[in-house]
Symmetry: C2
Amino acid sequence: MAVEQFQATAHLQSGTQVKVRSRGFEFTLDEPTEDGGTNLGMNPVEALLGALGACQAIVARVYAKRFNVQLDDFWVELEGDLDSDGYMDKADVRCGYSAVRYTYHIKSPSAQADIDAFIAFIGTKCPVGDSLMQSVALQLTGVIHEK
Amino acid sequence: MAVEQFQATAHLQSGTQVKVRSRGFEFTLDEPTEDGGTNLGMNPVEALLGALGACQAIVARVYAKRFNVQLDDFWVELEGDLDSDGYMDKADVRCGYSAVRYTYHIKSPSAQADIDAFIAFIGTKCPVGDSLMQSVALQLTGVIHEK
């Protein structure tokens, strides 16, 4: 067992702008103007897709050598389906993604059989992907209320 | 039904750096140097926590008025447990988060009962939270291979 803890914070700014921080790094998420935001960044469900693709890409980098795969280029295109009636409280449907599809783009001169085995493997070792495919226990551990 | 599609891409750069893009917005994720990266950004599992907190914060902003809650400040502190033996292929354990805990920080002069009802509600309307609590079907729809 090598259970590690990871941390982040998310701080609401003006309107729907949110500053996400972890270990001194920061990016801003927001909603588009048509959804009541100021469009200063991608929104959280887009960032979630991006985190999934980034996780797959890093797993690809880490495991390429084991499969004798030379990675000249690797990128992931992701798309998810989300029923906004859930989030908008207009219907009793789940508010998260019902499905996420992704396509790998790989540039490599390596043998097709090695690439096939590599592609099949990386899908099984992605921490963000696993967190979405299996459920994660989310727990509200406290509310710090200042008047 | 108001099913919408959201998109993002993740493009592997040098080492473990990945450029995440959606609708013209971009941020870089990476791994710390001790994990073989160049530490140019938070990593994907930290970004996942940040996306969850940002989603909760935006839901808070959107629904505060309905609950008569004045939000003078709102931020979320998140922590997740992840067994790195899964991702490193050292043990047959899940590679994603087993648990995520979060604490809300709220500054508000509103009535305690309104704040309590508000807090209980926002946890149920967060798209990223729902995507983690329930499973999401992930599907590899293609591999575009260039030699």
